[in-house]
């Protein structure tokens, strides 16, 4: 009897020590996506974060299907980190996500949104990768002109009411002046506003259509493309994914690369780095992508030097 008691007295602490290893509580990372146009970066983020094998971290992607009103449904529950893939998603998470930290992947005009105090030190519970797209709008116009020197007039599609639009308009207006281009503008608040786009292209004599950052435009890219193709003008998009979808040219960060970059930041957050002191990053690199097939279909002949300049040329 005494022998058994002694053994139990020894084995019990060992079992307790083994069993007391703290089971890590599950921490959910919820990726909030407004629609399919931004899904690629969300998936890249999720894949990279999962590859880190962080203990107890689970990634869940919530797609609002292109309807911003449904974004609020992606919030709530026990969430350790919201990851957003654009401005509207970030705003939704910041306003409705309580105290949960927010990490954005590809947000334009971070300072204008007011999500961060400084890029080098955000100071709140929001940080991420700023894609610099608002400022790059003018650069896209320049690259369009290099690729198609005959372009003289460009129709700019923008979404009123979103923060980066103002900075984007300033950027394209300044670029157009320097490049000697004429601009026409078409506000798009909803997909229905795209009706009549072809007529406006004809009416304004636009040689190309330029997208400004907008979740409405990105999530209804197919309709935009259908109408620009119908109008016979090339579309200048934001990133390579849009070129692959049918745009003629795009200059921007690779969405998947930004997703991976944000995953690295998320890992640092989970390792204990305070989000208030984690600087906003800019994308690793910008890529120029040109779709020769689209140009060919539209009867355009891009400058071959621009094709050499491009990081990727789709046939």
């Amino acid at each position: 009897m005494k022998t058994r008691t002694a053994w139990i007295a020894w084995l019990l602490p060992l079992l307790l020590l083994g069993g007391c290893r703290k089971a890590s509580a599950e921490r959910e990372v919820r990726v909030v996506v407004s629609g399919p146009g931004r899904l690629a970066r969300a998936q890249a983020f999720a894949e990279r974060l999962r590859s880190y094998g962080l203990d107890g971290v689970r990634v869940r992607v919530c797609d609002a299907g292109g309807e911003a009103a449904r974004l609020a449904g992606c919030l709530g529950g026990s969430v350790a980190l919201y990851v957003t893939v654009g401005g509207v998603e970030t705003r939704t998470a910041v306003e409705g996500g309580g105290d949960v930290p927010v990490l954005y992947v590809g947000l334009a005009a971070s300072l204008d949104w007011g999500f961060v105090e400084r890029l080098s030190r955000p100071g709140g519970r929001v940080t991420g990768v700023d894609n610099n797209y608002a400022e790059l709008s003018g650069k896209r116009l320049q690259l369009l002109q290099l690729a198609l020197p005959e372009v003289r007039r460009v129709l700019v599609l923008y979404q009123p009411g979103v923060v980066p639009t103002a900075r984007g308009l300033v950027s394209v207006r300044g670029a157009a002046e320097g490049l000697g281009l004429e601009l026409a503008y078409r506000p798009v608040r909803a997909a229905s506003d795209l009706v009549g786009l072809e007529a406006q292209v004809v009416e304004t004599g636009a040689d190309a259509v330029l997208l400004l950052p907008s979740y409405v435009l990105e999530n209804h890219l197919g309709e935009v493309l259908a109408r620009t193709n119908a109008a016979g003008v090339p579309l200048v998009g934001l990133d390579a994914d849009q070129v692959r979808a049918g745009a003629f040219l795009a200059y921007g960060a690779d969405g998947a690369a930004m997703g991976r970059q944000a995953a690295r930041m998320a890992r640092q957050l989970f390792l204990g780095y305070p989000i208030a002191e984690m600087p906003v990053e800019r994308p690793q690199r910008m890529t120029l992508t040109i779709h020769r097939g689209v140009a060919r279909r539209l009867g355009l002949e891009p400058d071959p030097r621009t094709l050499d300049l491009a990081d990727e040329v789709l046939p």
């Binding site: 053994w7 990053e281 800019r282």
Partner: protein, 589 residues
């Protein structure tokens, strides 16, 4: 310093257990093995870090060389406008901005982000083909390298390069446990696998900035953790390339064998401790029991025997202790009992002593009385003898013969009296020392009394004298002369102390084992409580009564010499003097 008993016990047991299990050597071997293994492993890790640093430095130098080469080609080709700059930027993702100028001003510019960038400040100088300028930071906090190239033709190129992108382009650490970064000349981190420290402009630790280039060294980081590092100089940038890793991380692969070893040691300890503990306990338990027992004995009592356990020697010790304790307990109980009864015994002895003293005093008084009585009894006849003798011898008196004869008879009578008295004294003395001689012979007591009756009747002097004797004979072994004297003495006392008109009775009874002689009278007898004392020599209940006081004492001596008893009682208002003699021995009677 005195240590707590429980600590001493614990130490003793643990030491015994550890010694029994051989755990201490196991721990020492484990520690030495771990030390040697970790040292060797860190040595290998240091070599790996050194190799990685050398490889990275080669890549960095190669990349910087390529940048200089590509930008140099662009500079040389700027006659074709801005396109060479655009191509160069396309080939070099770290490029932020490029410009070519000559003595007449900026000839071409290209920016990765802006359409019409602000001209870069001149950096390239004539005669210096390659100039690396100070590190600048953009509004994002990103460090940017500045480079100036100069051609003898007077054409210059200035470039701004994103340091993190430069770094990302070339740094692919083969070992994910390692951490590498690049510093400028001031030690501020330009690029690293951790973008945070770059964007926040953190500085490398002092040890890294001052460490000998190319050698493995160890230092404590800001959190106090040891890190292993190698720093190599990057001459082009005037900074350092550092590859380092936390020692704990480097030793992580050893953690599994370490924990396995620890677990094995723990299990070994657990497995060995139980038998060791039991062994130690088997020795210490009897000692504890002995200590407890000794403590209880010290307090005065051991309520139950100690339990025997452990090895035979310990059991024998406990057994011996129990025996000793039992004997002590018995002794203690006896002492307690002795102490408890000591007072009684003292009281008893005191009483006995007091009685003995009283007896001694009484004996002394008796002796004094006896001497006084003897003196008195002897002096009286002596005085009479002396008086009549002196009277007869008086010279001036001529006594008649009949008067002289009377005087001589008186003198003879007093001499006889003295003679009887001395004989009685001698008999009494013999009786007291057990030397009183009687010569018993079988006699018929009835016949003896019938023969003695006339003499006794004369002694009654006219009082009624009644005799009651059994019809048949009663055979008794007796000295007839001595018994006659006893009966005479008893009858004389009855006559002497009884009333004049009273009756004196002589009776003989047969008892189962003896015969009883009874002489009674109607006198008052002796006072109550003095029935025994009347048999003492010279005792007189009444001093007025004449007599030597030796008769009853001698009677008792005679009776007891026959094996009988004598006594004096009151029965029905009469005083009865009686004595018994054992029956038997009369076959011839």
């Amino acid at each position: 310093m005195r240590r707590a008993p429980w600590l001493e016990r614990l130490e003793g047991r643990f030491t015994l257990a550890a010694a029994a299990a051989g755990l201490l050597p196991l721990v020492l071997v484990g520690a030495v093995a771990w030390y040697g293994l970790s040292r060797s492993y860190l040595g290998l890790a240091g070599a790996r870090i050194e190799s990685e640093a050398a490889r990275l430095q080669g890549s960095l130098d190669g990349r910087l060389e390529a940048i200089v080469g590509v930008l140099g080609e662009a500079l040389d080709a700027t006659a074709d406008g801005a396109w060479p700059l655009r191509f160069a930027a396309a080939r070099l993702p770290e490029v932020v901005e490029l410009q070519v100028r000559d003595d007449r001003g900026v000839r071409a510019r290209w920016s990765r982000f802006e359409v019409d960038p602000v001209p870069l400040p001149p950096l390239a100088r004539a005669g210096v083909p390659e100039t690396w300028g100070p590190v600048q930071r953009d509004r994002w906090g990103e460090p940017q390298l500045t480079l100036g190239l100069a051609r003898p033709s007077g054409r210059y190129l200035e470039a701004r390069l994103r340091a993190p992108v430069l770094w990302d382009a070339l740094v692919e650490l083969r070992d994910p446990a390692l951490h590498a970064y690049l510093t400028d000349g001031s030690g501020r981190i330009l690029a690293s696998s951790d973008r945070v420290e770059v964007l926040r402009g953190e500085r490398a630790p002092r040890e890294v900035r001052r460490g000998v280039a190319g050698q493995v060294f160890r230092y404590r980081d800001g959190r106090g953790a040891w890190r292993l590092a190698v720093a190599r100089d990057v001459d082009r940038l005037g900074g350092r390339l550092v590859v380092e890793a936390p020692v704990r991380g480097l030793l992580a692969p050893l953690s599994v064998p370490l924990w396995t070893l620890l677990a094995a040691m723990l299990l070994a300890m657990a497995a060995s401790y139980v038998p060791g503990w039991r062994l130690a306990r088997s020795v210490t338990r009897p000692l504890d029991e002995l200590a407890r027992g000794a403590h209880e004995l010290e307090r005065g009592r051991l309520e139950r025997p100690l339990a025997e356990s452990g090895p035979p020697e310990a059991r024998a010790t406990v057994r011996a202790f129990n025996r000793m304790a039992a004997e002590l307990e018995q002794s203690r109980l006896e002492l307690e009992d002795y102490a408890r009864h000591l007072e009684d015994r003292v009281a008893e002895r005191t009483e006995a002593l007091r009685l003995a003293l009283e007896r001694a005093l009484e004996a002394d008084r008796a002796k004094t009385r006896f001497l006084a009585s003897v003196s008195h009894e002897l002096r009286t006849p002596l005085a009479s003898i002396k008086g009549f003798a002196s009277t007869l011898l008086a010279p001036d008196v001529a006594w008649k013969p009949e008067e002289a004869a009377e005087f001589l008879r008186i003198i003879e009578s007093e001499a006889d009296r003295m003679h009887y008295l001395v004989n009685d004294l001698l008999d009494l003395a013999r009786g007291e020392r057990g030397a009183f001689a009687v010569r018993p012979a079988p006699r018929d007591a009835v016949r003896l009394l019938r023969e003695l009756e006339p003499r006794l009747r004369r002694l009654a002097r006219g009082r009624r004298f009644r005799v009651r004797l059994p019809a048949g004979p009663l055979c008794v072994r007796l000295d007839a002369e001595r018994i006659r004297s006893v009966l005479v003495n008893l009858v004389e006392n009855a006559v002497k102390y009884g009333p004049v008109d009273g009756e004196v009775a002589l009776e003989l009874d047969e008892l189962p084992e003896a015969v009883r002689f009874r002489v009674s009278d109607a006198g008052p007898g002796v006072p109550e409580g003095l029935e025994e004392r009347v048999f003492e020599p010279f005792f007189r209940a009444d001093d007025a009564t004449r007599g030597s006081g030796l008769g009853l004492a001698i009677a008792r001596t005679i009776v007891e010499a026959h094996g009988g008893t004598i006594g004096l009682t009151r029965e029905g208002g009469r005083t009865v003097a009686w004595f018994t003699l054992p029956k038997g021995g009369c076959k011839d009677a």
